[in-house]
């Protein structure tokens, strides 16, 4: 262990004796000792280091800092007994002394900082909205450009994205919609059995699945899967300057990255929803058979009679809108990524939350409008 002695002499003199070690392991102790005398007025301070065996950079810095602060208080300092290695280390530390108090770091008062944060966030969301409008405008512009020159459209990329965000999502969409169909049928079965209206399970499961549930579930699963991957993909490309590279070569990132993703999802989404329809109703059929004793043929015949085509069409009609929302939000948030890898994570989160919210909001809007006009 290190030892550290302070001997206060008369007429404002002080002897400090440091022996053995002055390194990172000893500093906690010594620093506490020094704090006690740091602001005392001395005219002469002698620091004796002749018995010091270990000195590392942190220790040397402590010595340098100590002499500097005594000097500021008007004392003369003598550091004695350092061997030449330690001496050069201490000179080096003194040269590199940088006091924290000299560096500007403005720390606001709590309330002001809250105000500043609120203001900043407001401005940020306004800015983000403006950026969204310009992104949407640019996407539309490029869309019309491509419409006029269809050979410029990236068919291959679109096909790839149909596979990645459509076909590969089928298993998870199947599982979720099957489970939801199952649950809805179970809940309904119990209530309907009370009235002896068993056969109405068919109407309930089919209509709710076709019209509302299947499109919504599919859209939420796709939002979680694809909005996040679009944001992360494009965000990474932005950080690695791939997007700048494209622009510098005259390739339009919107045409290369955004349009294929939007088109892929718009094409794939109705198909996914139709698939979810079938699987969801199938889940209902299983429950209808097992707990209400309605056979599959009975179920299907009843469904043919009571479920109007419009319910299926409405569900399929919503799909492209959801697809557009998800793809646009995913791509847009990706383009907002700047600077660090951390911001990829942040915007990916934002993009998924946004996409799911807007899907639900859009679904509500369509429902209200359709009910209003009586479909």
């Amino acid at each position: 262990m290190s030892s550290f002695n302070i001997v206060k002499l008369e007429n404002q003199q002080c002897n400090i004796n440091i022996s053995d070690r002055l390194d990172k392991s000893a500093i906690k102790f010594i620093y506490g000792q020094i704090k006690k005398i740091k602001n005392t007025k001395f005219s002469l301070v002698k620091i004796d280091c002749s018995e010091l065996k270990t000195l590392d950079y942190a220790g040397a810095l402590l010595l340098a800092d100590l002499s500097a602060s005594f000097c500021e208080n008007g004392a003369s300092i003598v550091v004695a007994g350092l061997n030449s290695d330690f001496q050069s280390l201490m000179f080096f530390a003194r040269k590199n002394l940088r006091q924290k108090s000299r560096i500007k770091y403005i720390k606001e008062n709590f309330f002001i900082s809250i105000m500043i944060k609120a203001g900043k966030q407001t401005l940020d969301s306004l800015e983000s909205f403006a950026f969204f409008l310009s992104f949407l405008g640019e996407t539309l512009l490029q869309f019309f450009r491509v419409l006029a020159r269809p050979w410029k459209f990236r068919y291959k990329a679109t096909a790839v994205h149909i596979e990645k965000s459509g076909a590969q999502a089928l298993p998870i969409v199947a599982l979720t919609s099957f489970l939801v169909g199952l649950v809805v049928a179970y809940q309904g079965a119990e209530q309907l059995a009370k009235f002896g209206a068993n056969i109405f399970i068919v109407d309930m499961v089919s209509i709710s699945m076709f019209r509302e549930l299947a499109p919504l579930i599919a859209a939420i699963v796709i939002a979680g899967r694809s909005a996040s991957s679009y944001t992360a993909e494009i965000g990474t490309m932005k950080i690695t300057e791939e997007i700048d590279a494209m622009r510098s070569m005259g390739f339009e990132p919107i045409v290369f990255l955004v349009l294929p993703r939007i088109f892929a999802l718009v094409i794939a989404m109705p198909l996914i929803v139709f698939f979810a329809d079938i699987i969801g109703v199938f889940g209902g059929m299983i429950v209808a058979k097992s707990s209400l004793g309605i056979s599959y043929t009975e179920f299907i015949l009843r469904a043919r009679d009571v479920v109007a085509m419009k319910h299926i069409l409405i569900g399929l009609f919503k799909a492209p809108f959801f697809a557009m929302l998800i793809a646009t939000i995913g791509c847009f948030r990706g383009f907002q990524v700047t600077g660090s890898t951390e911001s990829i994570g942040r915007y990916t989160t934002i993009s998924v939350v946004n996409a799911i919210f807007w899907v639900i909001a859009c679904n509500a809007l369509i429902s209200v409008v359709l009910t209003d006009i009586g479909i």
Partner: protein, 246 residues
């Protein structure tokens, strides 16, 4: 002569079927500035990563400070790692922390020094590595490439390591910045008595900083020695590499 601090013996590295190193052996002595040179894709960074235990090798042996790293226990490995620090090619600063926090985090984790003093040590290392004080509270995403390297150097130096590993320290810096960085490394190595291992292909670094170096060529060590010996070594690859005939 000073003792050998890192010794690489007959190391073979393979990625799948691709052989990167075929029985590579080098010795690095205490207190020297040693360079690992080679064309791009020759496996210099791979060799560095093997020495610092970030990557496994197929066969052979590497010992650092007398410990064989291929069969080291977890506890010994943690202790051994405290003896060195690494400056990665792009700094690898933690993006969620500002510069001062980045530099002080090893001290916070490994020592019991008071926070005020930790800050002081960190600031001093930042000054040592030549980062302007205006950058103290900036985040890595707000720094230029050169500033990132300097902040990362400060972080690498903060625990007073015995060995400092530098992966292409001057890449991405402008010539003046690169020369300053070279000078800084040389100066720090002398003052802090460091052993420095540099992966580089910067000619200025090779000429002015390195004491000794090896050249990896065609999966093997083609040459090991100092610049004078390299100039006398007759092999087209070395001539080409050091551009001795202009």
């Amino acid at each position: 002569m000073s003792r050998v601090i890192i010794s690489v013996k007959d190391v073979v590295t393979r990625f799948g079927k691709k052989v990167v190193h075929d029985k590579v052996s080098i010795d690095i002595k205490e207190g020297e500035i040693y360079g690992i040179l080679g064309g791009s894709g020759s496996g210099k960074t791979t060799l560095l990563r093997e020495i610092i235990m970030l990557q496994k090798f197929k066969s052979g042996s590497i010992s650092v400070l007398g410990k064989k790293i291929e069969k080291i226990s977890y506890k010994d490995a943690v202790e051994l790692k405290k003896n060195w620090s690494v400056l990665f090619q792009f700094g690898a600063l933690f993006s969620s922390l500002n510069v001062l926090e980045n530099v002080s985090i090893p001290l916070i984790e490994y020592t019991d020094m008071p926070k005020d003093f930790i800050d002081e040590v960190a600031l001093s290392k930042l000054k040592m590595s030549g980062l302007k004080k205006e950058a103290t509270y900036l985040f890595p995403s707000e720094l230029s490439g050169g500033m990132k390297k300097r902040a990362a150097l400060a972080r690498a130096l903060v625990m007073d390591p015995k060995i400092l590993f530098l992966d292409e320290p001057t890449s991405g810096l402008d010539p003046v910045g690169a020369e300053n960085f070279d000078r800084l490394i040389k100066e720090l190595a002398t003052l802090l008595k460091l052993t420095v291992v540099i992966v580089t292909h910067d000619l200025h670094t090779i000429e002015h900083v390195l004491d000794r170096f090896c050249i990896i060529f065609d999966k093997k060590i083609l040459f090991e020695g100092d610049l004078q010996e390299a100039k006398n070594f007759k092999h087209y690859a070395i001539k080409e590499f050091l551009k001795l005939e202009r």
